[in-house]
Symmetry: C3
Subunit: 313 residues, 3 copies
C-alpha cells in the first residue's frame, strides 16, 4: 500500500525539493501545552529560531483529517485558537483522520509524519517515558517504542523527572535507541541539566552529532536517536526546588486520588502553579534552545551526508 | 530471501486473484478450543457466515508441514478430527514445518500467514494479552507484539478477563496498536460487553472502520489494528456471574498449585464447567458475530480503497 | 539511505562472493572476556574450529571507526592487545564510529554487522537476557530485542543463570523469537546443560536446524532464532557447585553494594575466582563447541537452501 504524503507548506515543499535542511516540530505544545495566545507566540518564535539557524521549520499537525508538515501563518493561528483540537499519538492518527478531526501531534505522531514527509530531524521539549510505578501499571509512552521503530533524530532536553528516568533509560537501551548528550556527560532532566544519570555517549558539536545520525541510519537498525540537549544554564530551575515541587505534587496527586492518565497533566499544572510560572518560562527556553540546535544539526547533516556516505560504501 | 506463499483453497485463490474480499480465520479454536464434532460444525458455520456477508473465508492452519490459507471441506474435516495437531504461535511455525507437523494456528501465527497470503482482515474470538501477575512472571502473549509488527486488522470481542485487561491495554498503547471499538465506548471483555476500561476510539460502522484501517496502513507504522466488537447483548454472560466464576477458578488454580502455561487452559475449562456450558455457547456466538462483522469490513475496504488512497496521495 | 558494507577480510569476501558458508563471531570475548594472550589464542582456536568444520570465520569488530567482518591475523592480534578498545552494543556503534574508536562487539552489535555483511549464522558463548530484579530495574539486554528485529541465527549455550532464565524465556516468547535446543529437551544454562526450564523445540541435527532457519526466514517475521547448544557433558560444571557459587557471588554483590551495570562483571569475576578458573575453562569449551556446530549449520544451510525454497513457492 502506498504511504501517505503529508500536505506541505510552500516553504517546506521547496526546501525538501531542493535538499535544504528542515526541522520537524510537534504541535501538542500548541494545542495542549500553553494558553492562547502564548502558544501561538511561542510557536512563531520557535519557527523563527529554526530559520535564523539556517533551516526550515515544519510544524506538524492534523488539520480537518489531513496530515500536515509545515503550516502557513493562518493555519498555525487557527490551530492555536482551535479548542476542538485533540491530542493524537501515532496510533490515534487513523481514527482522527477518519473523523476528519484536528489534532496536535505528540512525539510519536510527529515522528511518524516526519518520516512520511522525509524529515530526519525533529525538535521538541521532552519525550514521554516510563511512568513512575510502571512496574505495576505498565504505563510506558509509545514515544519510546516509536523511537525504537522510526529513524528520526529527536532533539529534546531529556525526560521530565515526574517520570522514572532510570527506567526510561533502561527501556531505551532495550529498544536499541542511541542516547547522545550534547556537551555534557549527564542525562538532562528537562527543567534541570543533570538527572543524576549518565548519558551513554557525549558529543560536543552539531557536526559530530550529524555524523553519528548518518552513521546510525547506515547501520540499518531502524531506530531513531535521542539527542539530549540540556536546558541552558541561565534558564534551568534549581534542582532542589523543582525536585521538592515534584515530590509535593506527587504526594498531592496520591492524596486526592488522581490516577492513571490524569496524573501527568495534574502534575504539570501543579508544578506550574507551585513554581509561579517559572516552569513554563523554563519550558519555553529549552524548546527554543532545542529548535536552534536541531537546525544546526539539520544543516550539518546536509553538509556531511555525501562524504560520510561515500566512506561507508 | 523470498517469502513463502501459503497453499490456498481454490475459493481463496480465486478471490485474491480477482480482488474480492477475504477474511482470515484462526484454527486453534478447531484443534484445541472445542470437542469434535462441535469444532467442525462451528468452523463450517463461521465460514458460511463470512460467505453470507459477501466475503470469502480463509481458515489458516499448518497441514503436514505446509502453510494453508483456505481449507477445502475434506481438509477442514480432517483437521477437526486430527488429535495429533499441535498449537502453533508465529515463532513455532518453522519448527512445525521442519517436523512436517499439523497445527492449529494462534492469533500471532494466523496474522503472520494471513500477511504472507495478502489477507488484511482476520476474525477471531479474543486475542491473547498480558497475564495476571505478569509484573512478576513477564508472561505476555506474542499476539500483542505480532499486532505491533504485522499489519493485519484483527476483529475480536476484546480480551478475556482471566487476563489483566488494564495492563493489556497499556501494552497495546506502548506497541503503538490502534484499539477501535465498534459501536461502544467501552473496551469489551469477551464474555461481556464492558470490561470497565474505555476503548481509545469508537467508530460506528464497518465503512468507517474500513477507512481507519486503510488510513492506518498508509501511515507506515507497520502495526496491525485491534477492532473490538462486543459480544451481542443477547449472548453476553452476566458480568457478576462470570466475574465471580473467574475469581473462583483463579482461587482454585492457586489452591491446586496450577502454574505458568497450565493456568489458562485450567481456567477456561473450569469456567466452562462452572457455567454449565454457557461460556462455550457465548464463545460460539461472539465468534459468529466477529466473522460477520469482519466480512463487512473486508467488503468495505474493497469498496473504499481506491478513493481513500487517491485522497492520500 | 544506503546501508554500510563492513570491511571484509579477503577470506570472508571470497567466501561470500562464492556462496560458501560463513559464521560470524563476536569480539567482546576478545576485548573484555579474557586476559591477553589467552584471548588471542582462543580467538584463533575458535576460528580454526570453524574452518575445520567447513565454514569461514568472520570475527566482527569496530577498528578505528570502521565496521569489520573478518579480521586478518595481524588485525586480530592488534585487537587482542588493544587496551583502548571499548565494548559496543548495537546502539553504541554510531557513536564509536564517530569517534573513530575501536570496539569489541556484543551479541546485538555483532548481529547488526553480520546482517549488513550478509552472514545469517553467528556463534557466541551466551546471549544477554533479563537481569534478576528486572521487574523493578527494567534491565533487559538489547540482545533479546535485536533477536526480535534482526534475522540472524545465534548459536549459544543458553543463558547464564546469573540472569533470570524463566523471565528471559518469556521475553523471547513475547519478542516472537524461536528457541530451538539441539539434542536436548532442556534449555541449557551456559555452564550447565539444564536450566530446569524446557526449550520450546528440540531438533537433533544441524541439517534439521538449517531447515528451520530457512523456513523461519521465509515466514517474514523479521526475527532471528536462538539455537541453544548445551555445553559438552565433559566440560559442564557441576550444577550444585555453580549454583551455590552464583548464589554466593550474588549475596556478596548485595553486601558490598554493587549495583546496576557493575553487577554482571562483578559476578563473572567472582565466579571465576571462586571456581579457581574452572568457569573460564568451561567458557572456552562451550564457545569452541558452538563454533563447530554453527559451522555445520552454515554448511547445511548452503546445501539445503535451493530445495527448501523451491518447496516453499
Ligand atoms: Mn500511557
Ligand atoms: Mn505466555
Ligand atoms: Mn542493561
Amino acid at each position: 500500500m502506498p504511504l501517505l504524503k503529508p500536505e506541505m507548506s510552500a516553504e517546506v515543499a521547496a526546501a525538501l525539493a531542493e535538499g535544504r535542511p528542515v526541522v520537524a516540530l510537534e504541535s501538542t505544545i500548541i494545542t495542549h501545552g500553553m494558553p492562547y495566545p502564548a502558544n501561538l507566540e511561542t510557536a512563531i518564535a520557535v519557527e523563527d529560531t529554526i530559520r535564523a539557524n539556517g533551516a526550515v521549520p515544519a510544524t506538524i499537525a492534523v488539520i480537518g483529517g489531513k496530515l500536515h508538515a509545515g503550516l502557513d501563518r493562518d493555519t498555525l493561528a487557527a490551530l492555536a485558537a482551535d479548542k476542538s483540537a485533540v491530542k493524537a499519538s501515532g496510533r490515534d492518527l487513523a481514527a482522527v483522520m477518519t473523523r476528519g478531526g484536528t489534532a496536535g501531534t505528540t512525539v510519536s505522531a510527529t515522528m511518524r509524519i516526519a518520516e512520511l514527509a522525509g524529515i530526519p530531524v525533529f525538535a521538541t521539549g521532552g519525550v514521554g517515558g516510563v511512568h513512575r510505578g510502571a512496574e505495576e501499571s505498565f504505563d510506558i509512552s509509545a514515544d519510546l517504542t516509536e523511537l525504537g521503530r522510526t529513524g528520526t533524530a529527536v532533539v529534546c532536553a531529556g525526560v521530565k523527572s515526574i517520570l522514572d528516568i532510570p527506567k526510561t533509560l533502561e527501556f531505551l537501551e532495550t529498544q536499541r535507541v542511541p542516547v547522545i548528550a550534547y556537551g555534557t556527560d549527564a542525562f538532562p532532566a528537562f527543567f534541570t541539566r543533570d538527572s543524576g544519570e549518565k548519558a551513554d555517549h557525549r558529543l560536543d558539536s552539531a557536526e559530530e552529532i550529524a555524523r553519528a545520525i548518518v552513521s546510525h541510519h547506515a547501520l540499518g537498525s531502524g531506530t531513531g536517536l535521542l539527542i539530549a540537549n540540556p536546558i541552558p544554564e541561565e534558564a534551568a530551575l534549581d534542582p532542589a526546588f523543582i525536585n521538592a515541587t515534584i515530590a509535593d505534587a506527587l504526594a498531592e496527586a496520591e492524596e486526592r486520588g488522581v490516577t492513571r492518565k490524569d496524573v501527568t497533566p495534574f502534575l504539570l499544572a501543579r508544578i506550574n502553579e507551585l513554581s509561579e510560572g517559572r516552569s513554563l518560562k523554563a519550558n519555553i527556553a529549552l524548546v527554543m534552545n532545542n529548535a536552534a540546535f536541531a537546525a544546526k544539526i539539520a544543516v550539518a547533516i546536509r553538509a556531511l551526508a555525501p562524504s560520510v556516505l561515500a566512506s561507508g560504501r
